[in-house]
């Protein structure tokens, strides 16, 4: 299994509170991604990173920010959580261009 750890695995929070999800990898891969999975929408890209301090927006980036200060950690922050951000969040990593993508086990976030 690819060395990817997501934390927390489950979280319940209230509308308006800030939330940070963490993805940690032990593979020294260059690329890291955050996806959300919702019924009827498959997996949608939120943000991704192609190196330390290098990030770019995905298709559903509004309301989310990311940071990557070290190769091994990619943080996803919801500045002010809303009920529409209730979802399962997956982190994924990729070694480089032209390599397979591997997923973490996901974080289930519920915003009440």
């Amino acid at each position: 299994d690819a060395g990817i750890t997501q934390s927390p695995r489950h979280k319940v929070t209230e509308t308006g509170t800030p939330v940070t999800l963490r993805c940690h990898q032990t593979e020294n891969h260059r690329y890291m991604y955050w996806y959300r999975q919702d019924p009827g929408h498959g997996l949608r890209l939120i943000h991704y990173s192609y190196g330390v301090k290098d990030t770019d927006k995905g298709e559903v980036s509004d309301g989310y920010s990311v940071s990557r200060s070290k190769t091994e950690d990619f943080l996803l922050t919801l500045e002010s959580a809303t009920s529409s951000q209730t979802s399962v969040y997956f982190c994924a990593i990729k070694e480089g261009y032209g390599s397979p993508l591997h997923f973490g086990n996901g974080t289930r976030l519920t915003v009440t």
């Binding site: 890209l45 390599s99 997923f103």
Partner: protein, 108 residues
């Protein structure tokens, strides 16, 4: 952005049957990957296949990039094959866009 369509959306098989899942995409891609999401929610990479055909046991995949489609073949299906199968073409910048998946149920 690129549009990805998977078919069929749902598929129910008896154990031992064969099946073909299809993935159509709207733009040129650098490569394409197939994933299986098991009933516990884990996403497993099945194939990295920019073009041509690859085989892994009872599964094989073919991508025809010039015609913008990929096929996943499952032979002699088993109950453990149940889950959702996703394709994800990769475009410039190493962005992968996922289809909505095919929900496969294999009955004993």
């Amino acid at each position: 952005g690129i549009q990805v369509e998977q078919s069929p959306p749902d598929l129910i098989l008896q154990e031992g049957a064969n099946s073909t899942l299809r993935c159509n995409f709207s733009d040129s891609v650098n490569n394409l990957q197939w994933f299986h999401q098991n009933p516990w929610g884990q996403l497993i990479n099945l194939f990295y296949i920019p073009s041509g055909t690859k085989q892994n046991g009872r599964l094989s995949a073919t991508t025809v990039a010039t015609e913008r489609y990929s096929l996943l073949y499952i032979s002699s299906s088993q109950t453990t094959d149940s889950g959702v199968y996703f394709c994800a073409p990769e475009t410039s910048g190493s962005r992968l866009t996922f289809g909505e998946g095919t929900q496969l149920t294999v009955n004993p």
